[in-house]
Each structure stands twice: as structure tokens, then as C-alpha cells.
């Protein structure tokens, strides 16, 4: 008999701010997610290669190349269904949101965000994972 256990979402958080990483990790682990992190896009590529990740939360301004460029790299390997990418930024303009879509992003979350806002985003993109 197989047990139909709900899958634990694995979320990759990419941010060069130690506090932002810690904040996201606390929120998501408290709510049952597995969290992997990277503070630059080179490390993020490695993390995404060795882990089966259900969702990427990526800061827009992240060294050494920005989040939009990084997303384009990801899209050459995974499509939007295989690996959803949500951009996170302090910027909240329609232009930035449009740029994120053009870069292959699935969503956009503005900083600062509440615990509930973050978790709703994760739920939205990992519900069927």
C-alpha cells in the first residue's frame, strides 16, 4: 500500500542580502518547505543543478549578472512549468514587471513582503508540484 503523502516543496531563494535570505528561510521552513539558498547567481546555478527545486525566488539585482539575465540562462534549460521563477525586488513599476515576464519570470513579488504574501506565492507555484 502506498501512502499518498503531500510533497514538501523545495524553494531556492537567491539574494545577496544575508537578512533577506534568513527572513525567507524562517518563513518557509516554519511552513513546511525545504529551503536552499544562494547569494550569487553562480552559486545558484550549482544549487539548482544538484537539487530538484520546485520554485526559484530570485532577487532582481544579484551579482554577478542580474536576475533577469539569470532567468534567461535558466530558461535555456528549464521551461516555465518545469521551474517557476518569481522575481523579488524593491521596485514596483509596471516596466519592471513587464521586464520580468520577458525574462521568463512566472511572477513578481515586491519587497518588503509579509510572511503570508510570501507563502501565498510559494503555494501558488508549488501546489501542483
Amino acid at each position: 500500500m502506498s501512502l499518498n503523502r503531500p510533497k514538501i516543496p523545495v524553494v531556492c531563494v537567491i539574494d545577496d542580502s544575508e537578512s533577506s535570505l534568513a527572513f525567507a528561510r524562517e518563513i518557509l521552513e516554519e511552513r513546511g518547505c525545504t529551503v536552499v539558498t544562494a547569494d550569487n547567481t553562480y552559486e545558484a546555478l550549482h544549487v539548482l543543478t544538484v537539487n530538484k527545486v520546485d520554485l526559484v525566488l530570485c532577487d532582481v539585482v544579484i551579482p554577478p549578472f542580474d536576475g533577469f539575465e539569470f532567468s534567461r540562462v535558466l530558461r535555456s534549460r528549464w521551461n516555465k512549468e518545469e521551474l517557476p521563477v518569481v522575481f523579488v525586488s524593491t521596485r514596483n513599476s509596471e516596466v519592471d514587471k513587464a521586464r520580468s515576464e520577458l525574462a521568463g519570470g512566472n511572477g513578481y513579488l515586491t519587497k518588503p513582503y509579509s510572511a503570508e504574501e510570501l507563502f501565498q506565492v510559494v503555494k501558488k507555484f508549488t501546489l501542483s508540484a
Binding site: E18, S19, S20, E30, R31, T90, R91, P112, A115, E116
Partner: protein, 158 residues
């Protein structure tokens, strides 16, 4: 503000920092960006002394202020050394503002917050005091920097 910082039932994630010679906490869910030990700000020629300069945050230039000097009109006791840390906070009226602070510490999870409590903050920070939170034997003031009276912040020129 505080309810947005909730982690779950009665849990809050708060960022520890020093300002005005006091160790303080602020809800992390209110902070747009945290910048530690910034050594260079873009100067604003002819600006008032409380305008420390500007810093690029996600590609946008954000003014960074010495909140003590801004609020009191006097000298800052704490900032003005070689590097500062910055908390970037969105305000309804003025957009993103960077508040220079002396030191940024840990992210702390608290479950018991008290209205008021036995905490003291410098007079100029009194409007920002939300409540207090106890961590082992220490009780910290919890503040919201956007509650500082920011009227006049656009009047930058000295």
C-alpha cells in the same frame, strides 16, 4: 504593521539594530533592503547635514538620512564614521528612504510582544515605538522607522 510581520500565530520576525545608542528591533516584513557596512554613498552637494547621501537600491537612487540629526536638528552622536549600515524602508508619502543605523544584528523570532512594556528609547525615537519584546532577560523596544515625523525630508538643500 506588526500583524504583517507575523510568521504564524503570535510569532514575529524582527531585525536587531543599534540606533541612538540603543539596541532596537523592527519588523523585518517592513524592511525593503538591508545594507551592512556601506563605505560609500553618493554625495548630494549643498545638502543639509542629515542627508548622508544616496545609495542605489535595485537600480534606484534612495536618499539615506541620519534620522537622529533629522529629528532633533542637532548633531548625530552615533553616525558619521567610516561606514554605516542602512535600513531601506518604504514610506507612503516619500517612497523608499534609507535610514542610517550604527549596526545591524541578527534576525530574531519573538512570540511575546507587550504594549509599551518597560523600555526606554531616546525622546526623538518616541513616535516610532510600537511595543516591546522580551528575549531571555532583555526587553527590546520594537520600533517602526516610518513613524518618524518625516515632514521636511524633501527640503534637502542647506
Amino acid at each position: 504593521m506588526m500583524k504583517d510581520s507575523s510568521l504564524g500565530d503570535k510569532k514575529y520576525l524582527l531585525l536587531e539594530f543599534n540606533l541612538g545608542g540603543k539596541m532596537l528591533l523592527t519588523p523585518m516584513a517592513d524592511i525593503a533592503a538591508v545594507m551592512r557596512d556601506v563605505s560609500h554613498l553618493v554625495g548630494v552637494p549643498g545638502a543639509k547635514p542629515w542627508m548622508l547621501g544616496c545609495k542605489k537600491v535595485d537600480g534606484e537612487m534612495v536618499p539615506v538620512i541620519d534620522s537622529e540629526m533629522f529629528a532633533t536638528g542637532g548633531q548625530s552622536r552615533t553616525l558619521g564614521n567610516t561606514s554605516i549600515s542602512i535600513l531601506v524602508v518604504p514610506t507612503e508619502e516619500f517612497g523608499l528612504i534609507g535610514f542610517g543605523v550604527e549596526h545591524i544584528g541578527r534576525l530574531i523570532q519573538l512570540s511575546d510582544l507587550s504594549e509599551g512594556g518597560d523600555v526606554e528609547v531616546p525622546v526623538w525615537l518616541a513616535p516610532t515605538l510600537l511595543c516591546s519584546g522580551a528575549l531571555s532577560t532583555t526587553t527590546y523596544p520594537i520600533i517602526d522607522l516610518t513613524k518618524l515625523p518625516l515632514k521636511g525630508i524633501k527640503d534637502v538643500q542647506a
